[in-house]
């Protein structure tokens, strides 16, 4: 199999940039730590200056100058429009249906974008005890739509989840509706190799865009199920010089800031 041409950007940067591009200026976004936080702040610092970023610690409209290490860094509160208690955040703002986009990630995902962040092995005697769901179960059901960022590998893209921590499209089309949900669930999955979206007919994730230099074979090779591709398969636009500049500055600032701390 042929390797992609050496690119002036990393696969991880591509994943973050493509996630940032998916956000709209008017979005109210429930942000997780890591790739989602980088993507949301990249969007805010580029094409979506008015995007509202909400962290589950209660900060609404945070505008951090550096990426927080935790969802509760002081930077978030100091730059927020307002900060509410955690019960209010989950009751009025998330359950209230006011979040347009929720970002999720996970240790494992299946073809219907259900996620596992709880255990590998059995729940009672786990092989690996993962951190657990946190806000994910209700983020997945209450946000108007869900974006997932997750690096692609046979370990993460699995045929069968040992545990469903947060609901994607369940067992396929109609699953969410049958549970009384009106929210859309996962509408796009952004990985280091490609972008996947649910097939309108089946809700199975299909590749709709391959990142530059990535072949269908490469994606298939790291997927735990028989990966399908859209018949309108596109190639993801490379990160622009501007996008890379802003992202790298942001990450450099953040690394420096966190190293300085005692």
């Amino acid at each position: 199999m042929t390797m992609p041409p050496a690119a002036p950007f990393s696969a991880n940067e591509m994943m973050t940039v493509v996630a940032a591009r998916a956000l709209r200026n008017e979005d109210v976004c429930f942000v997780g730590i890591g790739a989602p936080s980088a993507a949301c702040n990249l969007a805010r610092l580029t094409h979506a200056p008015d995007i509202t970023l909400i962290y589950e610690s209660g900060t609404i409209g945070a505008r951090p100058t550096v990426l927080p290490l935790s969802i509760g860094d002081g930077e978030l509160c100091e730059t927020a429009l307002t900060t509410v208690s955690v019960p209010e955040m989950f009751r009025y703002w998330l359950q209230g249906g006011r979040i347009t986009v929720g970002f999720l990630s996970g240790a494992q995902m299946d073809r219907y974008a259900n996620l596992n962040t709880t255990v590998v092995g059995s729940y009672e005697r786990p092989k690996v005890r993962l951190p657990g769901g946190g806000g994910a179960p209700e983020i997945a059901s209450s946000c108007q739509e869900i974006f997932i960022t997750i690096p692609m590998s046979r370990r993460t893209f699995v045929e069968q989840l040992p545990f469903i921590t947060s609901l994607g499209h369940g067992t396929g089309r109609g699953s969410r509706e049958a549970l009384g949900l009106k929210s859309r669930g996962p509408t796009r999955v952004m990985t280091d190799l490609c972008v996947l979206e649910p097939d309108p007919d089946t809700c199975e994730l299909v590749v709709t865009s391959l990142h530059p230099g990535v072949t269908p074979e490469m994606a298939r090779a790291v997927c735990g199920w028989a990966l399908r591709f859209s018949d309108r398969l596109a190639t993801t636009a490379e990160p622009s010089a501007g996008e890379l500049q802003v992202l790298r500055d942001l990450q450099a600032r953040s690394a420096a800031a966190h190293k300085d701390e005692p």
Binding site: L69, G72, L76, V86, T118, S141, R176, H258
Partner: protein, 282 residues
């Protein structure tokens, strides 16, 4: 009127073997100094309640202080695993740990119900997920008007809640601001409340970012422990020690190294050691 006393006195009087204890603080104002005193006094068989166990419970679990953990996200924020929590769950070291696992929404609602003196909380949650299959304390309730089925969890009512706040006045009123998390709810839901503070002042002063004030008659004991939230932080006093959170990954990965760290930094020290992390100590 709460008692103003030493940390040793407060923990000895209000935290007992077998108690249900909530030490809250959502990333901000985590009461580490109080947890270390609980370790020094050798408390056992505790039920530990906390949305994010964080390093504070990783330390208590690693030392075998807890029989049971009620939680909703058990990682090291932005870093990875809580290795002592994993070792207890995966290998039963130093002793088995019984889990009652929830989502953040469930625990936030359960604290809220506790503060409101309700027996349970109803919310839109746990839809299409597996946690209700393994946690019998997640049930359902029907809306008597629409017939809708909602998730229900029992209220959290700790024997004692321990928090760290920025200030108390001499009458015993407590102020916290910045990210206030679930501390107000956790204090009001508990039978007893122990509060460590950065400083005790004549006047709480102008409220800062969304300040929460807890009246003196809701607090059992107050202890001045400058720096008592380190390596967490106290808005307006000191920053989160993100570097220590990162370093904890290595310290806690190995049992012996963890034991050595606790012996050196917890068992051989007292609350005054935290002062060096506060503005007063610099």
């Amino acid at each position: 009127m709460p008692a103003f006393c030493s940390l040793g006195e407060a923990i000895a009087a209000h935290v007992h073997d077998g108690d249900c204890v909530a030490m809250e603080g959502f990333t901000h104002l985590i009461p580490f100094a109080a947890a270390h005193e609980v370790l020094r006094q050798g408390r056992r068989h505790l039920t530990l309640v906390r949305m994010t166990p964080d390093l504070i419970y990783d330390q208590l679990i690693g030392m075998g202080a807890a029989d049971r953990l009620v939680f909703s996200w058990g990682g090291n924020p932005g870093v990875g695993s809580l290795h002592r929590l994993r070792d207890a769950v995966e290998n039963g070291w130093p002793q088995p740990l019984q889990l009652e696992e929830h989502s953040h929404a469930a625990m936030a609602n359960a604290y809220e119900a506790g503060a409101a003196n309700l027996p349970f909380a109803a919310f839109r949650g746990y839809i299409g997920v597996d946690l209700p299959k393994v946690n019998p304390r997640i049930r359902r309730v029907e809306c008597p008007f629409t017939g809708e089925i909602l998730a229900a969890v029992p209220a959290i009512r700790p024997d004692v809640t321990i928090i760290h706040a920025q200030r108390a006045d001499r009458a015993g009123n407590v102020l916290l601001d910045g990210i206030v998390g679930v501390q107000k709810q956790a204090v009001l839901a508990a039978r007893r409340a122990v509060v460590t503070v950065e400083e005790i002042v004549d006047d709480l002063g102008a409220p800062g970012l969304n300040a929460v004030v807890l009246p003196s008659w809701t607090i059992t004991a107050i202890v001045a422990v400058p720096g008592g939230a380190y390596p967490s932080y106290a808005q307006g006093y000191y920053h989160r020690a993100n570097a220590f959170y990162t370093a904890w990954d290595e310290i806690s990965r190995d049992r012996d190294r963890f034991m050595a760290w606790v012996s050196e930094h917890v068992l051989k020290r007292g609350p005054e050691a935290f002062r060096t992390y506060s503005p007063q100590g610099r």
